[in-house]
Symmetry: C2
Subunit: 337 residues, 2 copies
């Protein structure tokens, strides 16, 4: 049925070892042999079977991406951030050729065990994980001895074998708040998801900037209102912010900022003039709303690409593990501030 190395070997008048050598570029063979093999393969339409190859080489050429899914099944739908990450990963995998990505989005702790099984059964060559996970899970991951690159994770001390890529979240929070201060605002809120090390960094930056300026903090914590979706949380906070007399807000992620702007607009508030809003992430969406969203750019695409390249270096060339990278962030001024 299927064309195999044996068929090609027969057609080219060589052994299967030679066919294998030609296709993998290993071993030695004459140029004529090479031509003959390639021609036979082409004529027969031979395609190597990756599963068979994986069995013997112990390389599946599969990369596993682990994503936290906050709400429901709609991980990608609800998070433009992940979409950019996935695009960026593929942009690298296609260049290196023959790698594929499989995704596991983890809605709750019960699933964590299944992710573990999944990694083993698929025999992935490496793991890319976005966001924060409980320690027990990271320990399991570590025990597998696989190359792992973590994005937006601050559990750095404990796992020396993991590589990390983060953005300068604290600086981002600081610069965002400073920008609002420079625009003349004094009553500046922080709102959105404030839980976990990453968001705490952003909040810390905000806090430093306000303290420097001698301004009070207005904290609107999404986890306190039990709304899981960032956009909806933003909408929800709009009224509370104006009621409390705030003049501007730093949202810890763009989707919350977009929700906040939506809510403010509904109230008839002139966003940008009467009320400044700045987000964090710089998803495309931010420049498609009106007024366009000011934000902290963290170059998500580059982040994902770098993570993928780092992983591939480890897989293919046994690059040293445990690299730590903090990417700079930069202010993007638009009309919402």
């Amino acid at each position: 049925m299927r064309i195999t190395v044996i068929d090609v070997a027969k057609a080219a008048g060589v052994s299967r070892t030679t066919v294998s050598n030609v296709f993998s570029g290993k071993g030695k063979y004459s140029n004529e042999t090479r031509e003959a093999v390639l021609e036979a393969a082409k004529k027969l339409g031979y395609k190597p079977n990756l599963a068979a190859r994986a069995l013997i080489t112990n390389r599946s050429r599969l990369i596993g991406l682990i994503l936290p899914s906050y709400v429901d099944a709609n991980t990608l739908t609800n998070s433009p951030f992940y979409n950019i990450i996935i695009d960026s990963i593929y942009s690298v995998l296609r260049l290196e050729a023959c790698y594929d990505l499989i995704i596991y989005s983890v809605p709750d702790k019960d699933q964590l065990a299944r992710v573990n099984d999944w990694i083993d059964m698929r025999n992935v060559d490496g793991i890319l994980a976005v966001g924060e996970y409980e320690n027990a899970f990271l320990q399991d991951l570590n025990a597998k001895g696989l190359p792992v690159v973590l994005i937006d994770n601050y559990a750095r001390g404990a796992f020396a074998n993991f590589s990390y890529i983060n953005s300068d979240d604290e600086m981002g929070g600081y610069l965002a708040a400073r920008h609002l201060l420079e625009k003349g605002h004094r009553k500046i809120a922080i709102c959105g998801d404030l839980a976990g090390p990453l968001m705490q960094k952003r909040q810390q930056g905000y806090r430093s900037a306000l303290r420097e300026a001698g301004c009070p903090e207005y904290v609107f914590d999404q986890t306190a209102i039990a709304i899981a979706a960032p956009f909806d949380a933003g909408v929800h906070f709009a009224r509370r912010l104006t009621e409390q007399g705030c003049e501007a807000a730093f949202c810890t992620e763009d989707m919350t900022a977009i929700g906040l702007i939506h809510g403010l607009l509904q109230q008839g508030v002139q966003v940008g003039r009467a009320f400044g809003v700045i987000g964090f992430d710089n998803i495309h969406f931010g420049k498609q709303i009106f007024p366009r969203l000011s934000t902290m750019d963290q170059n998500i695409f580059e982040k994902g690409q770098t993570a993928t390249k780092t992983l591939l270096e480890t897989i293919e060339r046994q690059a040293r593990r445990g690299s730590r990278l903090i990417l700079p962030v930069s202010l993007v001024k638009r009309e919402s501030t």
Copy 2:
């Protein structure tokens, strides 16, 4: 190193056949045997190797998703539609367990050959393809004899073995235009991507509605202006629409409508009152802008789920191929009209 059936068989005091039988649910074995095998497997931490299984069963438990990528590497980033599709696919694959999705987004014709190789090398169990492709490619696909489900593709006659899932695009165009007419508009434009069978259906519906009402057509074709990104095209058309005295527009996809609204707002046009805009798709984004976008809902999530279930039925239970499904669309009225 790795725990295999042999280890489990030894620990449980049975043969590897029995272990295999227990794990696949095939063959016969006593309840005690089953317990013993399961316990041994658990104690040893045995996980079946899917690549090995694939080799013998010829089932990779991999589904291939083929996506057209119009612009650049940013397929997912630029198309919220695809994100919903992917989420919907995963929502089904996780239920059926042990299936994974691998994605190939095809930027140009040169890549089509590589997709072919990719399908063979990964030995996918079935193909989900979104959008339109040239006939030669579909023929290649057909020749493989794999289960194929096409979403939003109108090449229906030629490939009896493919299953198709479409939305009622013509009705959608009709209802969208009718809605604009009922709002009292007379000068109603159609704008965006108008190329290909699917978009032509939408245009045809628009045309029928306008003819019935005796209104003139205003056609703004995105392909004519060589802007690949739907949002940017929408922005671009805003000025031209008002210059031509149009009062409303039906955009053939939401992202274009969102761009159009953005452009109109920039001009100071009161979208919703002075100018009606309706889109097509009902992506989440449409209700996150302000004013919120009226649109034709095509229940993308359900569409993707149905496609996936159809594919799985064919793969797992040899369901008859070549089913044809047209999903209804419905009007979603919001503030942009």
